[in-house]
């Protein structure tokens, strides 16, 4: 179930996951504080270079895309918790988007029913991923790589890649809604999901079981944790969150477009990894993921306001992911040294 970006990396991660201690409370906070400091730095930078950055118009746009970035990050985070990956979040998201468009525009279902069904579809596709992963024992990277293409292909065939742009007007109206002149209510939806995830991972048996399965699946299994079930539920949740992110974009765009989700992969990893979630599984930081998403959104928005092209954005995000991964590696080495270093010197004998 453990998989990471490359083979070389897999090795280092699996080694460190054995020896690595969970970051202490302070170390964890230090990471968050560091992240917050970087974010503030970027805000100061962008504001001084382009005062339009803090205009209520830009802040509103930023809050809308932040909401989406946070939820995309959560979608990947819940699977990282199990030590797995979900590369299909973009495809699941767009399937939910197109389903909602179809249900509202073609069938004419009431909005809440259509949205609920779209979320359900996302959850189902996530469940399908989890089920196949657990049943086949093949790692999640490969399964979700395949299902990403499968889901996307299925959606394109069924929808003929037609945009649904005659949605009920309430959709776009909600997307345009501003609180206090500069915040989209979507952001509060994302924060609400974050609170729910904090409760899940900190205080529920299910969340704890998902983390235990991620930290050491075999030990968890032998301790009576239904590991397969935990993994399937994590993927189901991931699917539902991906669908939520897709629907948020439907609100924002006022239309259900088949191109949604194609650029999710990078930010989906960036947010949790920057925030301190371990790629190897067993530890998540919900607040960290939100801050990570904020950093991504800030940079994207800042470059946009400064009218620096999209090409640069890709380059920047790539650099930041690389940096975040180095940070993950450094954290593990650091934790290893701290936990074992002194003792080891004598104990290795």
């Amino acid at each position: 179930m453990k998989w990471s970006l490359t083979h070389g990396f897999t090795m280092t991660l699996s080694v460190s996951s054995e020896t690595r201690a969970r970051p202490s409370w302070l170390a964890e906070q230090a990471n968050l504080i560091g992240l917050a400091a970087i974010i503030i730095l970027f805000w100061v930078l962008f504001t001084s270079l382009a005062p339009g950055f803090v205009s209520s118009f830009n802040l509103f746009a930023l809050s809308r895309s932040l909401a989406v970035d946070i939820v995309i990050g959560f979608s990947t985070m819940v699977v990282l918790a199990t030590g797995g990956m979900n590369l299909a979040i973009g495809s699941i998201g767009v399937c939910a988007v197109m389903a909602s468009g179809f249900l509202m525009q073609t069938i004419g279902l009431p909005i809440p029913v259509a949205l609920a069904l779209a979320l359900l579809l996302g959850a189902f596709l996530g469940w399908l991923n989890g089920f196949v992963i657990v049943r086949s024992g093949v790692n999640s990277f490969i399964i979700t790589l395949a299902s990403a293409s499968l889901f996307l292909g299925g959606m394109l065939i069924l929808s003929k890649a037609q945009t649904f742009n005659a949605l009920p007007p309430e959709i776009a109206a909600f997307g345009r809604m501003r609180w206090w002149g500069f915040v989209s209510p979507l952001l509060f939806v994302a924060i609400g999901l974050g609170v729910a995830l904090i409760i899940l991972f900190r205080f529920t048996a299910l969340g704890r079981e998902i983390l235990a399965a991620g930290a050491n699946a075999r030990a968890a299994e032998l301790s009576g944790v239904p590991v397969g079930r935990a993994i399937i539920i994590a993927h189901t949740l991931s699917g539902a969150l991906a669908a939520s992110a897709g629907l948020m974009l439907v609100f924002r765009l006022g239309a259900a477009m088949p191109s949604i989700g194609q650029d999710w992969l990078l930010p989906s990893f960036l947010a949790p990894v920057l925030g301190g979630t371990l790629l190897a599984g067993g530890y998540v930081s919900v607040v960290g993921t939100m801050l990570g998403a904020l950093l991504v959104t800030t940079i994207r928005s800042g470059l946009l306001v400064m009218q620096i092209g999209n090409f640069w954005l890709q380059l920047f995000l790539g650099l930041i992911l690389l940096f975040a991964v180095m940070l993950d590696r450094y954290r593990s080495v650091y934790a290893e040294r701290r936990s074992l270093g002194r003792k080891n010197a004598g104990r290795r004998a």
């Binding site: 054995e18 690595r20 201690a21 529920t204 048996a205 235990a212 050491n216 301790s223 009576g224 010197a345």
Partner: protein, 508 residues
């Protein structure tokens, strides 16, 4: 070749790993190197093989000071090591692995005929039965060790270090290995033998050096002058204390677990036994005899394919581990604490409470830290887990304390039957006794224990009765008389008789 270790010292930040260690390794001897975990054995081996450089002191080869800056220097000087972890390339053939350092070439390409011919020469010195054209991944662990030794010989090793060579091979294979060791010694090679197993050391070595806390506790003592007790007291600084087991009431009228002619997906045949209330039932066998697999089949981590399993008189089938734990109060402590037993990165608190998460959750399904601590705190205190805090990551605890946490997890779950697999593997002698006493203690509380161990003294200290397993079937049951000599002879008798019978059956 004579290797002299002279006043070697090595410091790591905050700790002195070795301090003025001096002794000599002579040609034509098997020299045992012993010491508890943390005594400095590995550090010393790393210095001898050129992985570390000493901070103080020096190494001399035949009286000439040497300075190794890398393992290559040590190999060039004739010192090779066979480490605990295998250093062979699984997809390469035996011959390629042996000759990997300096493959013979012709016109710039590797001459494979010559590779195998050369490798054959060295293998023939120790074990002619291994084919040099076999890929290493098809070999047994014991055969891989032989290949590594052949590789060391091909490098013209005069001093050969064997680090825990018998840790993962069966008794028979160990006997074969010892024969090789004796032959090499008789040819004038020096063998440095690192092992935790006293019986082995007593049987095979000529002299023994014991390290304690980085210092020499016995330097090159002839084994004839040493008794088991003497070596142990050199290792731990005092006499070995045998666990105080106290009086334990085993109620033989109550059978809590009964296996009737079980066969399993692992290949067990006709396994029948009874475990009584409050009993410690030993399951002895050599590595690979199928003991751990019995445990796995019992807890639903493998399939029972025939026969009947009865718990408290009821016939049951256990489909998975959670069912074993929750419905049948049956728990299993793996021999591999790190990979299968504990979640090293998580705190002690949740490692103990994990088995009862579902039970301690509130009506809303929420688990609070306080609820977990209510379960874990008393157990940490009762089992005397030494830790600064219950929030400590389990990976930071010593092996003995990790084992206590494993046991605490099952006490928290309220198991009635506990299968304990190799409870003291990798745990030093001091803590071993505490774990033994703890196991006795939990049976006094009414828990019945199925104890799996390859450690004969441990088995004889703890078990009330001992089942002997060989080749996935039970070959005998013995009432434990606690007399080491007669018990070990009887147990080995069963195993050898079975092996003989098997041999006779296939060849006669």
């Amino acid at each position: 070749m004579r290797l002299t270790i002279e006043g070697i010292g090595k410091d790591f930040p905050g700790v002195t790993a070795l301090d003025s260690v001096s002794f000599e390794i002579l040609p034509g001897e098997t020299h045992a190197l012993m010491g508890e975990n943390g005594a400095g054995k590995s550090t010393l081996i790393k210095i001898i093989t050129g992985l570390y450089r000493p901070d103080r002191g020096r190494l001399l080869v035949d009286g000439q000071p040497v300075d190794f800056t890398s393992p290559r220097d040590a190999i060039a000087a004739g010192i090779s090591a066979v480490h605990q972890e295998r250093n062979l390339i699984p997809r390469f053939t035996v011959g390629e692995n042996i000759m990997i350092e300096r493959p013979p070439t012709r016109n710039g390409v590797i001459d494979f005929d010559k590779v195998h011919a050369e490798a054959r020469k060295f293998l023939d010195m120790i074990d002619p039965s291994i084919d040099t054209r076999t890929e290493v991944r098809h070999l047994s662990v014991a055969q891989m060790q032989i290949v590594e030794i052949a590789k060391a010989l091909s490098l013209e090793a005069q001093v050969l270090l064997l680090d825990e060579p018998t840790a993962s091979i069966t008794g028979h294979e160990a006997d074969a290995l010892f024969a090789v060791v004796r032959r090499l010694r008789d040819e004038g090679k020096a063998i440095v033998f690192v092992s935790h197993k006293l019986e082995e050391v007593m049987a095979i070595s000529d002299r023994v050096t014991v390290l304690r806390d980085g210092r020499i506790a016995a330097a090159g003592e002839p084994i004839a002058n040493m008794s088991r007790g003497k070596i142990v007291s050199a290792m731990i600084g005092r006499e070995e204390r045998v666990a105080e087991m106290g009086t334990r009431a085993v109620d033989r009228s109550k059978t809590v677990l009964e296996a009737r002619s079980l066969a399993t997906s692992f290949g067990h045949k006709d396994v029948s036994f009874e475990l009584h209330k409050g009993e410690i039932l030993g399951l002895y066998g050599l590595v690979g005899a199928g003991r751990t697999e019995v445990a796995r089949a019992l807890i639903g981590d493998g399939k029972v394919t025939a026969g009947e399993l009865r718990l408290n008189g009821q016939s049951v089938t256990i489909p998975d581990v959670p069912t074993a734990i929750r419905r049948h109060k049956l728990g299993y402590i793996s021999e591999d604490r790190k990979a299968e037993g504990l979640i090293l990165t998580h705190p002690i608190r949740s490692n103990i409470a994990i088995s009862v998460w579902r039970r301690i959750a509130s009506k809303l399904g929420l688990i609070t830290r306080a609820a977990e601590r209510k379960v874990a705190d008393p157990l940490v205190a009762k089992l005397e887990v030494k830790t600064p805090s219950i929030e400590q990551a389990v990976g930071k605890l010593s092996g003995g304390n990790q084992q206590k946490v494993s046991i605490a997890k099952w006490l928290a779950a309220g198991v009635e039957i506990l299968i304990i697999d190799e409870p003291t593997v990798g745990i030093d002698i001091k803590t071993k006794t505490a774990i033994h006493e703890l196991i006795g203690e939990i049976t006094r509380g009414g828990v019945s224990v199925l104890l799996i161990s390859s450690d004969m003294p441990e088995m004889i200290t703890l078990a009330d009765r001992i089942l002997v397993m060989n080749d996935f079937t039970l070959v005998g049951t013995i009432e434990n008389s606690r007399r080491y000599e007669t018990m070990s002879r009887e147990i080995m008798g069963f195993i050898h008789a079975d092996a003989e019978a098997g041999h006779a059956a296939t060849h006669g």
